[in-house]
Symmetry: C2
Subunit: 163 residues, 2 copies
């Protein structure tokens, strides 16, 4: 059917798909982006600290940070060091809300990719010291659900997203 030149499809093109799984993948489902987020959750704020923690090139890091700022996931904030005013990057609330994504990746890795001895790191509730967990469940009956237990259907935003 198709004649002539067709531009290759890019992951970023999925940001426009009417699918609430494809869209966040297009936004944050990329290695360096997720590693920058992991680092932000570990408390890293300054460009140079991201750079030395990740070993990423400065241009690549600047581009990923800019995209995360544009998406409202990080915000730039001025701070004053000994010499001058500089910028740091802080997670917004929207950014903080990505924590379950990283914890879901971790939970999977703990189950399937841990050394024999057990998980590489443990994540504890500061309040009571219990280990944290990620649960995909039914909001009505509370049952834990796998993919086979779930039926997707078009939601109220489908028409607007497809337009």
């Amino acid at each position: 059917m198709q004649a002539g030149y067709a531009a290759p499809v890019r992951v970023a093109d999925f940001a426009d798909q009417p699918c609430n799984i494809a869209r966040p993948i297009a936004m944050v489902g990329e290695g360096w982006t997720l590693l920058v987020l992991r680092q932000a959750f570990m408390g890293t704020r300054r460009f140079d600290d991201f750079q030395s923690a990740l070993g990423i090139s400065r241009s690549l890091l600047a581009e990923r940070l800019r995209r995360l700022v544009d998406a409202g996931i990080l915000r730039r904030e001025a701070y004053r060091d000994e010499v001058r005013t500089r910028e740091q990057y802080r997670l917004t609330e929207k950014g903080h809300d990505l924590y379950p994504v990283l914890m879901a990746l971790r939970a999977w890795a703990d189950k399937h990719e841990s050394p024999e001895e057990g998980p590489i790191a443990l994540y504890r509730h500061r309040g009571c010291g219990g280990l944290t967990e990620v649960i995909h469940r039914c909001s009505r009956c509370g049952e834990e659900l796998g993919a086979r237990d779930v039926r997707p259907e078009p939601g109220p935003g489908m028409a607007a997203a497809s337009a």
Copy 2:
């Protein structure tokens, strides 16, 4: 400090880091890989169906599928069509266990990237019809937890992972 040529750091290099967040990012935290997984959860099994659903190039798709098979997330399975024996790709149990990662991405997108009208798609428990949700909580006291409520510490596998 560093003299001479240094190979650029790649996301894949983080597969060896002693961090249970960085490792799964290096394995599956990549756009096409996550989109292939989304498609697999939607029931896609055949190479040509992945290809037409995603619009990805055949070589890129073959490479991503091979990596997922190597990681034990998909398995190749022979099936017989009208003409000959062909291959399809099925999620393993390890693959199925990635469902909460996709659902965590979805839950975030539903909250922060939905059209005004609401979520693009709804995911319902087949059993009772309730909507599904992803909860990051304390396994001891049950409290829902954000990043600020959590303290990471080295786990039993840290020494082996760092070796």
